[in-house]
Symmetry: C2
Subunit: 421 residues, 2 copies
């Protein structure tokens, strides 16, 4: 009699408002196939949980706790920033993984993350052919950066896009109210070190019907101080105010991050700030306008309270599809989101081979950025709009969302030795 295999699931890289919805999709779907999948063990802190045999027994969580993951932001099992080296460089790690998988009868490996994590998952998927341990490794896409290839978009991004569009809209209304005798420019710093997808979402606050003066600084467009100041000045002249949405990854002509202005504190120590205060200062010195600035940072990727319904549904569907792919016998693949039509928005689940996903970064197409480099095009709007659509509110108690914290009961260790990371 062949023993039913258990599954391993872990979260990797920066977390999102909906990565737990994917976890929910994985666990609920696995629970629905108890004839084929045993337990789902979650890695505590990503792949580190696998290496250190620090596993969480998700079967100890109630159905309602697992269901509540769907509306809980962050990584319920802990995430990590840890990249597996290649087999030749660190064979010891792979042998350890096999030892842990073997000890806990793990035959399915679900890794939920972005580009780096896809690389880890690809390496694990090769354990079967290269080291003879039978495993099916499925990568589950997730990244607010929206930079994975093949998939039309990435779970996590739609909710950040919605948050940034709403925040830009609301802050623009605010600065418009104040502009006559006070603040004329509001600068909002958003995530996105290489690709400007999140910054682009700020442009969605302005619509054809209700135009708002929004200037976007993309990492894809080299910062030109004179052109930027001219643009802001024109906007303020026409509208009385303007909002600037700036990506953290904007660089100047020398390729240096704009945020890196060589600031020194009173003791001469280097002080690295965000890019928003730097841009605000450029405006003050160049145009003399009164300004305010904000930095959304974690707030944007944790904002489950205003997550996109599309995003929540897709995040869940990716988790479900990953388990289904495993049950169908696949290895070394990733479920993808395939856009079937824009109006009405229709999408379905596709499949991509992992070797075409790992370490490939999808940048914004040039056709998504307006000719002057400070805005988005209609093509970009058509792409972004459905991803932000729909509200999926969490339940509330006493004014606060009711997010779940799992018990995260550890699985008893079976191996004798510890493993040093």
């Amino acid at each position: 009699m062949t023993k039913k295999k258990n599954a391993f699931y872990a979260q990797s890289g920066g977390v999102t408002a909906v990565i737990n919805a994917t976890a929910c999709g994985v666990i609920e779907t696995a629970r629905g196939h108890k004839d084929k999948i045993g337990k789902v063990y979650a890695g505590r802190n990503g792949i580190i949980g696998a290496l250190t045999e620090d596993l969480i027994d998700t079967s100890r969580e109630s159905a309602s706790a697992i269901a509540a993951l769907r509306h809980t932001p962050s990584g319920a099992f802990g995430s990590c920033r840890y990249k597996l080296k290649g087999l030749e460089e660190n064979r010891r790690e792979y042998e350890r993984l096999i030892a842990v998988f073997e000890a806990h009868n793990i035959g399915y490996f679900f890794y939920n993350g972005g580009g780096d994590s896809a690389d880890t998952c690809l390496k694990v998927s090769q354990l079967s052919e290269r080291m003879g341990y039978p495993i099916q490794a499925i990568h589950v896409p997730k990244t607010v950066d929206n930079d994975l290839p093949i998939t039309d978009n990435c779970p996590g991004f739609g909710s950040v896009a919605k948050y940034i569009a709403i925040s830009t809209l609301e802050a623009s209304f605010d600065v418009a109210s104040m502009a006559k005798t006070s603040t004329k420019v509001f600068v909002l710093e958003v995530m996105g070190r290489h690709a400007g997808w999140i910054a682009a979402a700020g442009g969605m606050a302005s619509t054809e019907k209700d135009e708002l003066p929004i200037v976007i600084l993309f990492p894809e467009v080299t910062f030109n101080k004179k052109r930027f100041l001219d643009k802001v000045k024109t906007m303020v002249k026409e509208f009385g105010y303007c909002s600037v949405v700036v990506s953290e990854g904007v660089r100047d002509r020398s390729g240096k991050f704009l945020a890196d202005q060589g600031l020194r504190d009173a003791f001469g120590h280097a002080q690295l700030g965000g890019v928003a205060p730097v841009v605000a200062n450029i405006i003050k010195e160049g145009l003399g306008y009164k300004y305010h600035w904000g930095v959304a940072d974690y707030l944007q990727r944790a904002a489950r309270h205003i997550a996109s319904k599309t995003d929540v549904e897709q995040a869940y569907a990716m988790g479900r599809a990953a388990v289904q792919f495993a049950l169908q016998g696949h290895n070394s693949v990733m479920p993808t989101i395939v856009r079937a039509s824009n109006k009405p928005y229709r999408w379905k689940v596709g499949m991509a081979p992992l070797k075409k996903v790992a370490n490939v970064e999808k940048m914004m197409p040039k056709s998504f950025i307006s000719r002057d480099g400070f805005g988005i095009t209609k093509r970009c709007r058509d792409y972004l709009a459905p991803l932000m659509r729909g509200e999926d509110y969490p339940p509330y108690k006493d004014g606060l969302p009711r997010y779940v914290r799992l018990k995260n009961v550890a699985v008893k260790k079976k191996l004798n030795q510890d493993f040093k990371i």
Copy 2:
């Protein structure tokens, strides 16, 4: 036959997520008493609209547009930061106000703002006895700072409190997920230059049932670097991470704002950042922890998408009460919120004489701050909880809230001369 008097309404100071709900309360209530009140003229950009005879005819707006103000953040008619001087210092301004009021048959003056605006309203309310122009001036409370006296709380604050509590909760979940191999501390900067009401709201993310490691820096508590670092270290040792909520107004022993660190850019120019990066840097240098920081700025006070239901209701009620007070013949008063009971939360509308409101700042009671100075007490929780309670979502279209922008049709000028501000 005595001619029906028109009303003047204007918004002053920093705007909020719910000041337009107050405008809605004023205009809808006045429209319900057409036998006694003629038109409601809004001042464009606060009192400046009155001085420059730049009036908006709100009767040109449809009932549905006015109703939509209830769920629209910011100041629909524009706000201002402009303080009337005393009658002796600038008699010219008062004569001008009377000229404008007379020309447009204005007998009711509703001024919607905080402490400084109450002072302006008080001065206008004295026009009757000191300059013989019959006017009833009612101040309508509004301030995210929650620092007006007599009233139990101020419209605008409850929604900021809810936003900061939710953001702190969500960011804490995020950093908790990342802490093992990456960020250990998240620092969130919030508004509040003198009083720590908004910072206190960050403490609401942690509950008795679900404790989170949150360290609050209040403007009421002098910053002590050693004690702060000890606190953060203890929290990180116990929980693995921590969140710091820092008020923009925190000062060191010498009374200097912590944000003012004498930073210089590459050219030696002074660079004023926010306090969040300064605190983050103190943590990095003192403890070596990896950190992230955010600055909520306008996002917090414009966040109508997650406004408190209590706050929206109270903001509307204050507008309605102001008109009712005027109809009852009152002058130089302000409607207040009177807390009748905590559990269940019950409140009613009261009335305060304006001379007891203007220029008085209500600080947080000492009993609201925990003994170590880094947290809030149960008394503070009992006070804050009902103010954040309830959700009042705006309608959405295509993923974005549908906020209204009024036509803001100007009233034809009747005076021959311009007025220089």
